[in-house]
Every structure is written in C-alpha cells, then in structure tokens.
C-alpha cells in the first residue's frame, strides 16, 4: 500500500488563540514494502506526521493518500476506519495504553474491535506471543506484572493483531535498556521481511536509521526538507547539520580516519560492521603498499 503526502499542513488548536502550526507543505512518498525512517529535531513534527498516516489526524491542508483512500480536511470519520485497519501505529511508550486483565485479552481487543471472531482473535494472540518471543505462560498473566521490555512487546502484539500491512513506529525503543533496544529493533526488522510489511520508523538514533531503513525523510520545523536513501542522506553531512542533525557514529569515525590517512574509504560506513570491514581493508592495502 503506497502512501503519499502532497503539500500536507496541520495546525493544532485551529481558530483558537493557541493555534500552533506543526506541519507545512510536507511532501513525501512511502512505497509498499519500504522501510522508511523519519528523523528530525525534537518538535519538528514527526509524531504529528505519523498520526496522519492512519487518519488519527486529518490534514488542515493538502492530501494524504493511503492506498486508494484520499484523506483531506473534508474526509468523513467513517471513511477513516478502513484506513486504520491497514495502518497500525505503535505510539511512544505504548505500554501506557495496556488496560486488560490478561495479556491475551489485551492483544485480542484490537481484532475483536474490527469484527474478528473471538476464537480467531485468541488464536492470533497466541501466535503473536510466540512470534514476539514472549514465554507461552505470558498469555494469562496481567500485563502489569511484566517487565518494561515485555510490556512493550505486548503492546506491539496488540497492534500486529489486526494484521496491518503498514506498521508505524514512534520511537519504539525509548526507555529500553541497550539489550531491549536491540531485540526490539531486530524484531521489527524480522517482521518487516517475514510479514511483508511497509515499515515507518520515527527515531532519534541515526545509527538505527542507517542500519534498518532503505528510505529516509528528514523533518525540520514542520517541513519535509530531505528525502533519499541512507547513503544519500548521511553522505550529505553539511545539509543535515543545517537541520541540527548529525550522521551515525560510524560515519563520523570514518571521516576522522579518512582525514588521518589522507584518502576517502570507498563506501559510506552505515554500521560499525561496515566500518570495521572498510578499516581492515584499508589497513591491509596500506600493508601491501609498504611491503
């Protein structure tokens, strides 16, 4: 399901003294099957933009096209329900929205709300508990008796339960410890591939954007200011810096090394593994040259 944004604008508290413009003239394309990262300074409009991707907010101006559905300021609430079924959002700190007595019931809530039978919903809940690497006896536990990382997995399962084809993630690893972060990011990467998802990730981690995404959109003061592959975006350090953003640590270190050895490394090192490979190669070439 392709998503496109055409000159999308949004203001909070329209026609009140507190009106606050959050988006202006935002353009962008998210292709079916792509993994898109949205990066930008705090307050640049990332979360507001995400809420447009499943009709939680309607644009004040412009068009949000999700598959065959066009959403504009005038779109009726009824038409948005279908969109919500296809686009699942995992909000910041999703575990704050858990509320049922058991994990199973919490995961079943979404699909049942969309008219899936109780039996089928329960079956999905159990499949998801397994898929997300939670112990099987989690099903009958209270979500509030779980650890932070486990609670977050349950909340994510609740979104996956109605089988969205687009998965939208708003800083999904905030507050998790390093191991928890890595596990959750690897999980999304696996789901993206195995379930043929279109994934949209808002992140402050340039390292995660570089490692996992194939498409990046940069937001600044409510505008979309850059779009392209990680290679393109992180290869343009100067423009990024003008939006208050940096490059991944691997690229930073690559630049320092390039300065030291007086020549560029052949590819942009998007991950520490890329960097280690490039460094090992450069060192062995150096050895050959001196041999």
């Amino acid at each position: 399901m392709d998503i496109s944004l055409q000159q999308v604008g949004y203001s909070y508290g329209r026609n009140t003294p507190f009106e606050k413009r959050a988006l202006q003239g935002v353009d962008g394309t998210i292709k079916t099957g792509s993994y898109t990262a949205i990066i930008g300074h705090t307050g640049s409009g990332k979360s507001t933009l995400l809420m447009h991707l499943n009709g939680l907010l309607k644009p004040s101006e412009g068009i949000v096209q999700i598959g065959d559905t066009q959403i504009t300021a005038g779109t009726k609430a009824k038409e948005l329900k279908a969109v919500r079924r296809h686009v699942g959002i995992v909000f910041q700190f999703p575990e704050h929205q858990l509320f049922e007595e058991t994990v199973e019931k919490d995961i079943m809530f979404g699909p049942m709300n969309f008219g899936v039978s109780k039996e089928e919903s329960r079956k999905r809940a159990h499949e998801l508990i397994e898929l997300l690497g939670l112990p099987p006896d989690t099903a009958q536990k209270s979500p509030f008796d779980l650890s932070g990382g486990q609670m977050r997995r349950v909340a994510i399962a609740g979104v996956l339960a109605f089988k969205p084809s687009v998965l939208v993630l708003d800083e999904p690893t905030a507050g998790l410890d390093p191991r928890g972060r890595k596990e959750i990011m690897e999980l999304f990467s696996r789901l993206h591939a195995e379930e043929n998802l279109t994934t949209v990730l808002v992140t402050h981690s340039m390292e995660d954007a570089a490692r996992y995404a194939d498409n990046i959109i940069v937001m600044h003061n409510g505008h979309s200011v850059m779009a392209g592959t990680p290679q393109n975006i992180f290869g343009d350090e100067e423009t990024l810096a003008s939006f208050g953003l940096g490059v991944p640590r691997s690229v930073k270190l690559q630049r320092v090394v390039e300065k030291m050895i007086g020549r560029p490394l052949p590819v942009l090192a998007l991950t520490e593994e890329d960097l280690a490979t490039a460094l090992a190669r450069a060192a062995s070439e150096e050895g050959d040259a001196n041999a």
């Binding site: 705090t42 932070g148 507050g175 410890d177 981690s205 953003l245 270190l253 520490e272 960097l275 060192a283």
Partner: protein, 282 residues
C-alpha cells in the same frame, strides 16, 4: 578536601504488594558521592535505578540502612530542607508538570522555595534559554512533544540552582544534538559552581563522560569505578544486558577480523590513535 554530598549505607527496599512483600527492589546498597562528582548509574530495565533515585529524594524510605544527603540522615523531619537544595528530573516528565504554562511551571518550584519575584523572572528566563526553550514560555506543557517536555523539566531543575542534580533518564527522548546540549550545560555548571550530578542513563557514551559509574544489576550494586575500570569488564556488562561504547565495539570487530591492534580503545580518539600507530604511520 573531599566533601560528601550523598551516601547510601547498606540500603534495602521492597515494594509492598497485595500479596505481601515482593522481592527486594534494592538489596544492600552502599556507595558515597563527593561534592563536584558526576556519577552515572547504569543497569538493565528493572534493576532498581528509579527506586534508588526515589530513595535519594525521600519519596521512598529504606526498610534497612540509611540514606544520607548533605551529611544528614534523610527523614520526614528534614526532607523539605534537604530537597530545597536538590534538583531532580524524573523519567516521565508528564507526571511532573504543575503549571499551566511553561514559565509558570518553572517558576512554581522557585516560588515554593521562597525565591523573590524579581529573581524568579531572571532565573526562569535563564534556565529556559539554557535548554533552548525560550520560544515556549507561554506554551502549555502538556502540548509539547516528548523531548520538549524533557527540556522544560530540566530547566525547572536548573532554575533552582541546586547543589545536587539528580536525573533519571532525563535525556532519553531528546535527539542526539539536544542530548549533547544538555550534557554541555550540566558540565559547565559542574565546573563553574561545583554542582554534583547523579545521572541515571542507558546512554553509554554519556556514562563515558562521568567521573564514576555505578552499575546496578537485579537490585544489587554490581560494581562501581571510573569509566576505564568499568568498561574494561566489557563482557560482564554485555552479559547483564548493557552495551559497550561505540569505539570499543569497532575495536572488537577489528580484532575479530584478525587485525592487530594495541591497547584498549574506549573512545574514538583512542581508537584512531591505535589504528594510526599500528597500521598507517609506516
């Protein structure tokens, strides 16, 4: 002369639940913090870091042991006097806002501490400027984005001109630049005013900047030491769910690929120097 600002002396704490007392969230912890130190507390989710923070400001009291702040045993009686000399930023700033605008919110704590009005205005402006939120004086705190809320919460703590600043994952929702800015502001205050900082964080690069690191694991203090001492035990850290600083990860990958490298490389500078001497300076 070293001057103690805070100490934990064999502190244990358990939360009460409906089914009775649960496992110890804090289990026999002792350590001391000296004036002007920057302490980073790291540990997996649920290791007891926030509980420790709550014990330090008297939101909770230990079942066993003593918490001493400014060389006084923390108690109901001296709680407010002691708290007025501390600034704290909680994990979730939402629960911390009381004012209806950003500036009211920052002013509120000052008013509570009896800061005169004329002084208050200057301090509110200064502290909001320090975290780059000057344009948001009249905004409602609840309508800010997550990272903006964290900045306001930090401004509120700084405005108090505390002797001890306690931060519980205070920069977790900030972009990398924002995080660097906050760290720079706090470092500057530390140098200029001798501020003591206790910062709970998952950011290993931030922990690398601390004078000392306290590692928590399952309610216990696993170890404490300088960043060099702590990260020398990399495998142990990984085993309890923590990470290594970036330069160390690259350094390890290089060794795994069979490259010869001398010494340990905790920072990027050390790694670059190591590479140069071992491979490129010929």
């Amino acid at each position: 002369m070293m001057k103690e600002v805070l100490s934990m002396d064999h502190v244990s704490f358990s939360y009460q639940s409906e089914e009775g007392v649960t496992e110890k969230a804090i289990d026999d912890i002792s350590f001391a913090v000296q004036q002007g130190e920057w302490i980073a507390i790291v540990g997996h989710n649920g290791s007891g870091k926030s509980t420790l923070a709550k014990l330090m400001i008297g939101l909770l009291f230990p079942d066993e042991g003593e918490v001493n702040v400014f060389i006084q045993k923390l108690s109901e009686a001296n709680l407010w006097a002691i708290r007025s000399r501390m600034g704290f930023v909680f994990q979730n700033p939402d629960n911390q806002f009381v004012g209806s605008t950003v500036q009211d919110d920052v002013a509120f704590a000052l008013e509570n501490n009896g800061v005169p009005f004329t002084d208050m205005v200057t301090r509110v402006h200064e502290s909001l400027a320090q975290v780059n939120m000057s344009n948001f004086h009249d905004h409602e705190p609840h309508h800010l984005s997550g990272g903006q809320k964290q900045r306001v919460a930090i401004a509120g703590a700084l405005a108090l001109k505390p002797e001890l600043l306690l931060m519980d994952e205070a920069t977790s929702m900030l972009d990398p630049q924002g995080r660097d800015e906050v760290i720079r502001v706090v470092e500057e205050l530390k140098t200029k005013t001798g501020l003591t900082v206790i910062s709970i964080t998952h950011d290993l690069e931030e922990a690398l900047l601390a004078d000392r690191i306290v590692v928590m694991n399952k309610g216990k203090l696993l170890t404490t030491g300088t960043p060099t001492q702590i990260f020398a035990r990399g495998d142990e850290l990984e085993a309890i769910g923590l990470d290594l600083p970036f330069a160390m990860k690259v350094s390890r990958l290089l060794r795994e690929s069979g490259m010869e490298l001398f010494g340990e490389h905790m920072t990027e500078e050390e790694l670059v120097n190591g590479l140069w001497t071992s491979h490129f300076s010929k």
